[in-house]
Point group: D2
Chain length 294, copies 4
């Protein structure tokens, strides 16, 4: 389906994202587990939050020659290692193909960027569905052959539309939702259905300028640098765990329109970076922060 000119076939690998109370011997236990089952570690990174005494780890290993069958890795890891250390963990395989839906409103720049990357094979993902509260971007969706569903939103129909959107997302077995400058606040029920699986791009350097019209606020405040923030959506507006941020210098010469233009380039790049980190399973949320295993 994708152009596939980027798609390089990699060896299949498995990755574990782990966190647990910090204690002696964690790294040794996990690496021993892989080592003794004939796995070759491709990537290992760990992090300890010293104050809270919490341990985080990402380890990825080559599945070629690994002596535990793919279907049994999780159960074996739980029985032999995770249980003993009270670990919370997620196991992923590099050949899984998650399914992503994009929500957009009227601004096309992030949507075009996402579609271009998907189409070029930059990301290992399926993209069966675009949802919007406006009809304007349907031409963009059609250009790439993706279904485009319009759900007009009003204060009155807000919750009912959210339920219909959820049904549609379930029908399409969507794993990840990307808000590509979708200018609506999601319902709590909607968010609760996709914990740590909704990525938003907010057009300010959070926690500065949350909410509406941040470029106007930045101009009004006279800041010399503007930024954008990609984060997981929680029920607290613009306050979820931050995945990626970037900034750019502005000056007194820049009008609000200039800031919007300059900022949009950042928005699409930072949103794409967050999506990539999520798809590559490099993100672990702890409290309201992310551990990013780059």
């Amino acid at each position: 389906m994708t152009d596939a000119n980027h798609q390089k076939e990699q060896t299949h690998s498995a990755s574990l994202l782990i966190h647990c109370p910090d204690q002696r011997g964690l790294v040794a236990a996990v690496t021993d587990f892989i080592h003794h089952n004939n796995g070759n570690i491709l990537y290992l990174d760990q992090h300890v939050e010293v104050k809270e005494q919490v341990f985080f780890m990402r380890v990825e290993w080559d599945l070629a020659g690994f002596s535990i069958a793919r279907d049994h890795i999780g159960a074996d890891f739980q029985r032999l290692i995770a249980g003993r250390f009270h670990m919370q963990w997620k196991l992923h395989f590099s050949d899984e193909l998650p399914r992503m839906a994009v929500f957009a409103s009227k601004l096309p720049h992030c949507l075009y960027d996402i579609l271009s990357r998907w189409q070029s094979g930059e990301w290992q993902v399926e993209l069966p569905l675009i949802i919007s509260n406006h009809p304007e971007l349907e031409t963009v969706a059609k250009r790439f052959g993706i279904d485009y569903h319009v759900f007009p939103i009003t204060p009155a129909n807000n919750k009912a539309q959210a339920r219909k959107q959820l049904a549609l997302l379930k029908d399409h077995r969507i794993d990840l939702i990307v808000l590509a400058r979708y200018m609506q606040i999601l319902t709590e029920d909607f968010i609760d259905n996709y914990p740590q699986r909704i990525i938003n791009i907010h057009h300010s350097f959070l926690p500065a300028f949350p909410g509406a019209r941040p470029y106007h606020s930045a101009h009004e405040r006279g800041v010399k640098i503007i930024g954008v923030t990609s984060h997981y959506v929680t029920t607290k507006l613009d306050a979820g765990p931050i995945i990626a941020q970037d900034v750019v210098r502005v000056s007194h010469k820049d009008t609000v329109a200039d800031m919007i233009r300059i900022g949009q380039d950042l928005e699409k790049i930072v949103l794409a970076r967050a999506i990539w980190l999520h798809l590559k399973r490099k993100l672990l949320v702890y409290g309201n922060r992310t551990v990013v295993f780059e």
Copy 2:
């Protein structure tokens, strides 16, 4: 033809890009010319190269109510002002619609980005033509409904193909050529036909790593920051006047493949910035440097 949702109608304006030997009274003379003819200055910026004693200026003014007819502005400015001060100048009108051709090879990221911006109405430009030395990106061109011409290049047919490309460009009345990761060296004759009207994106922080495979060289050298450079093409390879540059941090963890992936985001943003500056007539080349009136 474009989506036009970005396209805000602005007042028409005229702009002058001027350079000449520095001397007293230059700013006063130019602003008087506009002022006395009832023009309202929207933008004025000047720069003096102190060592070489050269003066540069960009001035833009509202055409509404301007007392000189559009067709006579140039002649009047030459007779009344420019001649006296030995000025070299270019006059542009904001409602002109330049015509741009894009050259690409096999990498789609810059081409997609350019097409998306054009299609969204971010730029005031016509884009009738894509030229490539390979057939791969034709599907991308078709998606946006643009003519795609393949000119395979070999050492033997190099010059002949360049002449055919030039004929095609003339047929389409092309004003600006953008090399969107076009992996061929242009002939001198070709370049001479479009002085200061061919924009290239080079995937290194020039003058570091000119030529082929700069990400490989950057990795080999162990740099901690990589960059990209957009410049006007001259007959000296990767040595033309620099328009825009940007950089990003890397570490020992980043492989050549990581650098390529990270760098491609910079490439498309920096190339787009250079195109925008050119289209907005904010660039003036002097010697081998650019004056950028941002």
Copy 3:
């Protein structure tokens, strides 16, 4: 008194910082004034706030050969130009030597940086006085031979101490006050005595994290970039006109202590940049924003 190895003798020049309602002919009028009096313009920059229709300008010219005597320039400019256009303006001469006082608490990094720059002759300024609420940094002051005055601050003596500080500052004919991580809130009366002449460095990317312990807040919020802000002090805490900002990337690996260490490098550089802009008369405050003529 300074090492003077940086101090290059420049031609003396005059500069005007101007703002007024935007109207036709402003640039021409000012440049004519200089031109007709035989002045050679070294620098000219202007800015128009289009929405508020306010015009800003900085112009600097060589005094050699200028036909108006130094003492009469201001009056002549007012009579011939400024009055007519309702301009507010400030006239400065490049050979003036402003007098600066530094306020510090216990952290030495900004103080050392300021003293080193002053001592090396990087800045054209006199530095007769350091004030602190603690005795710790007196050894630093002594190392550079500067008077160090300790004013312990309590909620009870706050206002009385401010009055004593003001008396001391007046005695030393201080023009500019720099808060080099001075951890006290100034009284309104104190601030009113030095409008747009008190520069502070705040250790966050304002408006994010105003007030106390911003690095702790940044760590708690999980931001991926931290910053610092230099601004003129107004009676509204951490809300005065921003002069300069800079940022640096952090990650989940960085503890609060790391952020403090990394941030301190930014603090001293950004504070020094703001001081330099002020000393070079490149700053114009309008509303709560700065125009920076770089």
Copy 4:
């Protein structure tokens, strides 16, 4: 001797910097060694150069309760682990106090910055000695109470002076040499005496603009970003392993003098960052590149 207000007492720790051919079980072997001897790991990071199949690791652990006596750790690690895996390794203790000499010429900014950090207790280092080829900065050294030795350098006395410098450095048991804008090329013999223990700051974004007067070259080339590079000195000029780099935007308005002024702020910050990384034992050189365990 230092102001000590920064100096926080930390638990003593040991760190190992390791590299060896990549093979299964490396991380497990090292962490087991520490774990089984009752060591609590404070920091662990590893890196694999996939192409060359080389493994790098930095591990730091708390010495409190560690069951191997400090003097025996190295021998035990060699016998039990390192020998088996053909590891090259360095063992450091956090309470070691390395001895650093600074070389400077006439520019004071890096020297002042280093002395200020040392004096404030930012770094755990002794600084008994400053060497220069000029007398100008002796006043700076005196201000901080450090011995200042002048070795005038000519093409004729170059090698003889290097030998005298080496003798002086040996007398002072110097572990690390910092070239703080020392404008002389060191002799091969000198460099061979301090492999990976001489840190230089070069005032360009290497490999662009090596050698003399890089700001002049950057201005001439018309780059839009300038940078600085800190690296270990090797016998190939400006080509040693890069430790840290940073950049800053410039424009056509910036003269060479502006670039020098702006660049000097970067120079002192980047040099200080490299020194800090070296002192904290976070650097491992492999081939001509550094692995930086941040």
